[in-house]
């Protein structure tokens, strides 16, 4: 298919929020300041499990602070995440609680004229706690007699009893695994563990709430979904949504930590309503680390294959320690099954997933949403299997992968569709050449004690959660576009840009469809009153779903534009053509074959204004009926010092299939970023707890939540990025997503490279130098 010529899509542009960001003018929720604003601090439980016997805020109030406790806030149990349909939404949260279930849980809050005064007021609140028995291990938590965290929760509107601290279970079966394993020539089984990572988004969670004179509220907060925050606040505080305005404000990174409404948000609103003044809560970093974390995992995987490499049977058991609250475990367990079975065809499979409560920081989605965890297990197993079968690992993958024309499970068993674009062949053919795949298996000694290893892993992520039939996941976006009287264009969407350039991509889609210069397409500042519903910017759905909606309304507006142009040019719409005139700074509409019979978009809009034809605009929603996988493969070269255990990633080839690339430089940014976060996941990131106090060993300071620095990543020449030549027919201009795919397979690629370097198979991440040295010590001497 001949490649179309685009003027905006696929072109590098200076991002529209770029100047504000590089000059320090961009406003984040944590920068918002309002007249008469009060500063707030939250009182948090010092114990991992306790009951509050008494609380006395009188001393704090004497200081002039406004105080609220669990006695003042709603007793309603809610789920802070509204992505699933109500019927399956598990609710176990309260705004403030007298039964804290983890160190750091919110019990009370104060607001005062200055932060220092709020700090003082906080210290004057007297709380009597009754400590309760604690459980910090998921397997211990499931045993009979373990301390109970939640007696009952609400699922939808129904009360459900929680047994053995198991928040959710998921059981999925296809085919007959007994028969499958009988047919297998080779069976392997292994356990894997992934760490409890902290998102470490650079901006800590924040809310600013301004109470309105009419009883409404205006809210600025760190969020991935202004509409879900609006709905939750409206419900919790019994305010009609027309009076709840959640502003879209730039967020300093999220990575999944604000899919749910953050714990600070309703606290800030409650204080603002009581104080009748604006209130701001900006979490300290130490509070933020106690607020949310990534799902850790324990995975046992058993695979059976025929001698020729065909997979015949698979059994996976997953236990996820979700911490004190269920943010989205129901969805997670289903997704994890989907991530597994969409990688390779396995005719007979069984999946068992358990999500377990413990007295730890509540886990929530972090890029990949179970995909990095599952991918680590599966892609490690593929290499283990390849070795057993004496097959090349890439050959084994090519033989079994779910590809073009085949069914894959989008985000779990209720979301299935057919793959219509797939770059896997290309990346598994070209990628190995770029990394020098033939250098594997040679126990290359770089110098002295340093060994070199090469490994790869492949993965994918879905572009959103669309499906042919609506299921348990709400996934749609709305958009508004209008053409201004000078030919410039405004578009409004509640979709967030979390940094990746999603809105820049949407602007390009508008510019391309209308054939107007990108420079005159404006991303309108919006809030929940001026936008249609958008479920959330997550699940790598920004371009495919959010962009799809913008594309749809732009086409609708285009129809109207052409109809009005036809009145002026006296030629019917099918005879009209559109082109961008960069010199004139306008889109141009002309009669096919008669270019001198032309009118600019601005002239049409101005004529429309003068004649009272109306504004050229459209507003509509779109639910994508598919969630096409964006594929990726990572080829990694590492150097391991066998005397110190230190691992250096020295080279990487990242091959991605995103369909049509919309923002080339920002798409590259996703690949670089995903590689860096994936390396951190593989090598160093984790949070650990004190066995007695239930506190984080790091105490919430990032001094001891280490992440790779600019000096720890490979040099730029050593990171090669490639995009496969594919086109997704269901995506705007052929585009799919990229964000989470860019991270998912990195850890397995590193583990596979390590195996190549030193013959040790690491089944637990992070793989620290301490673990490497211990493994080398324990390794039986065979060479």
């Amino acid at each position: 298919m001949e490649k179309p010529q685009y003027h905006a899509v696929g072109k590098i542009s200076e991002r529209k929020d770029g100047i504000a960001k590089v000059t320090g003018q961009e406003i984040y929720a944590s920068d918002v300041v309002l007249p008469r604003m009060l500063y707030s601090r939250v009182l948090r439980s010092p114990f991992p499990h306790a009951r509050v016997k008494s609380i006395d805020t009188s001393a704090a109030e004497k200081l002039g602070a406004i105080c609220i406790t669990f006695k003042d806030t709603s007793k309603i149990k809610y789920c802070e995440r509204l992505v699933n349909i109500p019927r399956v939404t598990c609710k176990d949260r309260r705004i403030l609680t007298d039964h804290p279930l983890h160190v750091g849980e919110s019990i009370a809050a104060v607001a005062a004229e200055t932060e220092a005064l709020a700090e003082k007021a906080l210290s004057l609140i007297c709380v009597e706690y009754e400590k309760c028995p604690v459980v910090l291990d998921a397997f211990e938590s499931m045993k009979p007699g373990a301390p109970v965290l939640h007696e009952t929760i609400l699922v939808g509107d129904e009360e459900r009893k929680i047994e053995n601290n198991i928040a959710v279970t998921k059981l999925i079966s296809e085919g007959d695994i007994q028969k499958g394993f009988q047919e297998a020539d080779v069976i392997i089984e292994q356990e894997f563990k992934t760490g409890r990572v902290y998102h470490a988004q650079m901006e800590t969670k924040t809310v600013v709430c301004q109470p309105g004179a009419d009883g409404g509220i205006t809210v600025w907060t760190t969020t991935q979904t202004i509409h879900n925050v609006r709905q939750l606040l409206g419900e919790l505080f019994r305010i009609p949504l027309s009076k709840v305005s959640v502003q879209k404000v730039t967020v300093g990174g999220s990575f999944g930590s604000s899919i749910q409404m953050n714990t600070v948000t309703p606290i800030g609103v409650a204080l603002a309503l009581k104080a009748r003044r604006p209130v701001k809560i900006c979490l300290t970093r130490e509070e933020d680390m106690y607020d949310h974390c990534k799902y850790p995992s324990w995975i046992r995987l058993k695979l059976g294959a025929k001698r020729d490499g065909t997979l015949v049977s698979g059994q996976m058991k997953v236990v996820v320690d979700i911490g004190a609250h269920n943010t989205q475990a129901y969805s997670l367990l289903g997704c994890m099954a989907g991530w597994w079975v969409s990688l390779y065809r396995i005719p007979n499979l069984q999946y068992e997933g358990l999500a377990v409560y413990t007295n730890k920081v509540p886990a929530c989605a972090m890029q990949g949403f179970g995909n990095p965890q599952v991918n680590f297990a599966v892609e490690s197993m593929m290499d283990i299997l390849a070795e057993k079968l004496e097959m090349d690992p890439i050959e084994l993958r090519l033989k079994n992968y779910v590809g073009l024309g085949q069914t894959f499970w989008g985000q779990g068993p209720t979301v299935r569709s057919i793959i219509r674009s797939c770059g896997v062949e290309e990346m598994l053919t070209e990628g190995p050449k770029l990394i020098g795949w033939q250098r594997r298996n040679q126990k290359i000694q770089v110098k002295g004690s340093i060994r070199l290893g090469i490994g790869m892993a492949r993965g994918f992520h879905t572009s959103g959660a669309g499906s042919p039939m609506p299921g348990e996941v709400i996934d749609y976006s709305g958009a508004i576009v209008k053409i201004n009287e000078d030919g410039s264009v405004d578009f409004m969407t509640a979709l967030m840009d979390l940094g990746g350039g999603t809105l820049e991509g949407l602007a390009k889609i508008v510019a391309e469809e209308l054939k107007v210069p990108l420079s005159i397409v404006g991303i309108s500042p919006v809030d929940t009153r001026t936008t249609l519903y958008d479920v959330c910017t997550h699940a790598t759905r920004g371009i495919y779903c959010g962009g799809g909606a913008v594309h749809k309304v732009t086409r609708q507006a285009k129809e109207k534009l052409l109809e009005m142009a036809s009145r002026i040019l006296k030629a019917p719409p099918p005879a009209l053509r559109m082109a961008v005139d960069e010199e004139a700074g306008q889109g141009v509409i002309y009669v096919d074959g008669i270019p001198e019979k032309r009118v600019t978009v601005g002239e049409v809009a101005k004529t429309a204004q003068i004649n009272g034809w109306g504004t050229i605009s459209a507003a509509d929603s779109l639910r994508q009926v598919s969630c096409p996988p964006c594929f990726i493969a990572h080829f990694v070269e590492v150097e391991v010092n066998t005397e110190t255990g230190v691992i250096h990633p020295v080279r990487a080839v990242v091959y991605a299939d995103v369909g049509q690339v919309i923002n080339p430089d920002l798409a590259e940014g996703q690949l670089y970023g995903g590689l860096y976060r994936g390396l951190g996941y593989a090598l160093i990131e984790d949070t650990a707890y004190h066995a007695e106090t239930g506190e984080l060993l790091s105490k919430g300071y990032i001094t001891d939540f280490k992440m790779l620095t600019s000096d720890d990543i490979p040099e730029m020449e050593k990171i090669e990025l490639r995009f496969a030549e594919t086109y997704e027919p269901t995506g705007p201009f052929g585009a799919k997503g990229i964000g989470e795919a860019a991270l998912n397979p990195v850890a397995a690629a590193v583990a596979n490279a390590l195996y190549d370097a030193i013959g040790v198979r690491f089944t637990e991440i992070p793989i620290t130098p301490e673990k490497v040295l211990q493994a080398l010590k324990d390794k039986p001497r065979d060479e």
């Binding site: 590089v22 320090g24 920068d31 990746g500 860096y676 992440m707 600019s710 990543i713």
Partner: protein
């Protein structure tokens, strides 16, 4: 005991009364509305609060304002030229996709300018080392390093 101090901030002399425990970061953000410098960790580990004090990059979250009487402070807002045109480091960041969520960007821009003022021709390794105290969760650093290096050709 509060003290009257004079700070020159982005070229403008400002006289303020400060308490001993006021941090430069909060003075800049809360008193002067210069919200470019950010709170990222408060304990000197992330670099989001980086500003120039007497031409050297320092961490404003660990600097007592009261100790800076007579000092010159330049924030990211002051790196933009007075007529609004961008400094070449800022332009380079935009050119190389080095800006994603943008929260670390002010600190990175300050470091980029400081490095180039001190060493107009750093190597890639030197750039990587120079900004290692500035954390970025989005970009993976490569494009930021590229952006700073691209300024050395002149």
């Amino acid at each position: 005991m509060k003290k009257q101090i004079v700070l020159t901030i982005n070229g403008m002399k400002r006289e303020i009364l400060v308490a001993p425990n006021e941090l430069l970061l909060n003075v800049l953000r809360d008193r002067f509305g210069l919200t470019g410098a950010k709170y990222g960790c408060g304990i000197g580990e992330c670099g989001s609060c980086t500003v120039l004090v007497d031409r050297e990059p320092v961490l404003a979250c660990l600097t007592l304002a009261i100790g800076l009487d007579g000092s010159e402070i330049v924030t990211v807002e002051g790196i933009t030229q007075s007529d609004g045109r961008l400094h070449r480091v800022q332009e380079s960041f935009l050119k190389h996709g080095a800006v994603q969520c943008g929260f670390c960007t002010p600190g990175m821009v300050v470091m980029g300018k400081a490095l180039l003022d001190e060493n107009p021709n750093p190597s890639e390794k030197e750039v990587q080392k120079y900004i290692r105290g500035n954390l970025c969760r989005c970009t993976g650093y490569t494009q930021i390093v590229k952006a700073i290096l691209d300024c050395t050709q002149e």
